[in-house]
């Protein structure tokens, strides 16, 4: 057995203390709120809330981060169901059945099923993570510099191939992000590259301020430009758990959605939004009444929400075992772990196995906390999404700026946040995706240092990249993803557009 059950039980003992449970509840609640608010993605939410973990003991910090992640992945369903606007991209597929259910007067049923499905998906994803992650890390011990370079390229190719409308633009921002990651001291010779004379750039652009700028400040600027109106929620929420008949009807969708989500999450670069759409399509295809999909079927909500939450467990597998993020949110978590002094990867299992099990157990506990907090606060969260933009946006800006400042007490970091905020706004306005930049910032140093190490081993011969079977498989897959995506992108867009709810509601921003 590769699971250390003694350590697992011991880690639960570390979690079930007043302080740790308090921070998990705070993290889950804050995550749900951020996830529920349209325009604030789970990635942005996790980035904004990371400064809350500074200076805390490591068990508390890790538990809070897992709470935030869990809450944010569920929170998006609230606004998707109630106002047809996904709070996070991972909840985009939930609109397809969730909003029609709300229009039919079944908002309570949709909300309770989305929460229950998120819980079931999260638990299944965690279980698979606990059993698979140690196995993968043992396999990863065979990885050398060539394999890690190929893994970085693979992760980047996946995120590029699924981001945005144009592969060319996706590759351009990928290269741009990699160039950003090369700023600072060269990892091997220590030569300062592209620091423009700033000592603050010796380690490259600070990750959290850059991230907050790209994802949070850019959204605020976009909101200022468009002046979006806050929508009102009129639905009655009178159900906290789905009924037994609803659960029976959705059992197959719950299990398949959870497995699909975990598998998709484990692919570096692919996240909850992809998992949710695949699970929805699969549920529709295997249903006896596929023609009814889109009219408000509870099993549709079950499929999408179980998939996007089980994705968390899947995404943590490559993060913990290989040090490669499974999706954009785990890319941010990777930055948070590094700030806490942890380096995810196979060595994490050797040197900090106790903390790995803390992460496992805190994620499981966070699912239960999410279920209870979600039930207790359902009406409160529905009111939260009605906060006026003229109050919400300044609040996010202040949190963003202070969150960036608080890391090093540096006004330079605040300037960086604003600069990347402007860059992120312009990039998104002209159809350049932002997720490749995020992953490039994480994977760039890994790609460069491993490529150079590989070339040093081979005395400069590039042929080493094609002599290791695992690396070859990863590089071929990376190339295949990009080419297939280039050829089929338009077909996928048309298919997804065909699955969308008809635009008969004037309230949509």
């Amino acid at each position: 057995m590769n699971v250390n059950f003694d350590l697992l039980v011991h880690s639960y003992a570390n979690i079930f203390t007043l302080k740790v449970m308090f921070v998990v509840v705070v993290g889950v609640s804050a995550g749900i709120v951020i996830g529920a608010l349209p325009g604030l993605t789970a990635t942005m939410g996790v980035a904004l809330l990371i400064p809350l973990t500074f200076g805390r003991p490591i068990v508390e910090s890790l538990s809070m981060l897992m709470g935030i992640y869990t809450g944010a992945m569920y929170g998006g369903a609230i606004s998707a169901i109630l106002i047809r606007t996904p709070g996070t991209p991972a909840a985009a597929a939930t609109i397809l059945e969730g909003y029609p259910m709300c229009k039919k007067g079944l908002a309570g049923s949709a909300m309770s099923m989305s929460l229950f499905s998120s819980f079931i998906g999260g638990i299944i994803g965690c279980a698979i993570m606990i059993f698979m992650s140690p196995l993968v890390s043992r396999f990863a011990l065979q990885f050398g510099p060539v394999e890690y370079f190929a893994l970085a390229v693979f992760g980047l190719s996946v995120i590029i191939s699924i981001s945005g409308r144009s592969i060319v633009k996706g590759v351009m921002v990928g290269f741009f992000g990699l160039l950003l990651s090369s700023m600072g001291l060269d990892p091997i010779s220590g030569f300062p590259r592209f620091t423009f004379g700033f000592s603050e750039l010796m380690e490259g652009p600070n990750f959290i301020p850059t991230l907050i700028g790209l994802f949070a400040v850019s959204e605020v600027i976009a909101n200022i430009e468009k002046m979006l109106k806050t929508q009102k929620v009129k639905a009655k929420l009178n159900q906290y758990l789905p009924s037994w008949s609803e659960i029976k009807r959705s059992t197959s969708a719950l299990i398949k959605g959870s497995l699909i989500g975990t598998f998709v999450g484990a692919i570096p670069g692919a996240g909850g939004d992809i998992a949710a759409f695949i699970a929805y399509a699969d549920t529709k295809r295997s249903s006896k009444t596929p023609e009814l999909f889109g009219t408000g079927l509870v099993e549709g909500v079950a499929a999408t929400e179980s998939a996007n939450n089980s994705c968390q467990g899947g995404a943590m597998i490559p993060l913990l075992s290989l040090g490669v993020p499974g999706d954009a949110v785990t890319a941010v978590l990777l930055g948070a772990f590094v700030i806490q002094g942890l380096q995810p990867g196979p060595l994490l299992y050797k040197e900090h196995i106790d903390l790995v099990y803390v992460i496992f157990s805190s994620m499981v506990v966070a699912q239960f906390v999410m279920q209870f907090v979600g039930m207790a606060g359902m009406r409160f969260f529905a009111k939260v999404i009605m906060i006026e933009n003229s109050i919400l946006m300044p609040m996010i800006l202040v949190l963003s700026i202070i969150g960036s400042y608080a890391m090093r007490g540096s006004v330079f970091d605040v300037g960086l946040t604003i600069l990347f905020g402007i860059a992120g706004f312009l990039l998104q306005r002209y159809d350049f995706p932002l997720s490749p930049i995020l992953l490039a910032l994480i994977l760039g140093p890994m790609a460069e240092s491993n490529l150079r190490r590989a070339l040093v081993i081979s005395s400069g011969h590039g042929s080493i990249l094609v002599t290791r079977p695992i690396a070859v498989v990863l590089l071929v897959l990376a190339f295949t993803f990009l080419v297939l995506s280039f050829l089929t992108h338009k077909k996928i867009e048309r298919r997804l557009a065909g699955m969308a709810v008809p635009d008969d509601d004037a309230a949509l921003p």
């Binding site: 400064p51 590759v171 592209f194 400040v217 608080a406 604003i418 338009k490």
Partner: protein, 154 residues
Amino acid sequence: MKHVDVISGVIGVLIGAYVLITCQSFPPDVVMKIGPAFFPEILAWGLVVFSALLILQALLGKVSGTFERLSLRQKGMQRVLLSVGVMIAYCAILKPVGFILATIPFIIIFMFLLGNRNKFQYLWVPMAITIGVYLVFEKVLVLSLPNGLLDFIL
């Protein structure tokens, strides 16, 4: 879309060219030929090639998606420019003036920019957000924020 894609492509080419030129001044590695310029050069060439591809796509009319033209005459863009100016000013006065005294007017300005005309909310929202964030960071997280002109009180 065509104009913007051409401009974006040109910017990409310029960034790539800047990196390639700068890399010429990087020292070669003493032990191996693979020095600090190696990886940035590969990336810069990649950026240049794909930027050129974008320009070509735009000129051949093979672009997807639509967007609104950026014009400084639009009220939206004027609000964006003003808000960026306010953010830069906030950044500049944050340390000397202090978090509390800088943040309250900052929030008021943004509430106004975002169309809030409820006078009652102007009385309590900026204070509530500022004090709330201050208490969370200073007292709960024990991360110090600049006191500035209020240093003698706080």
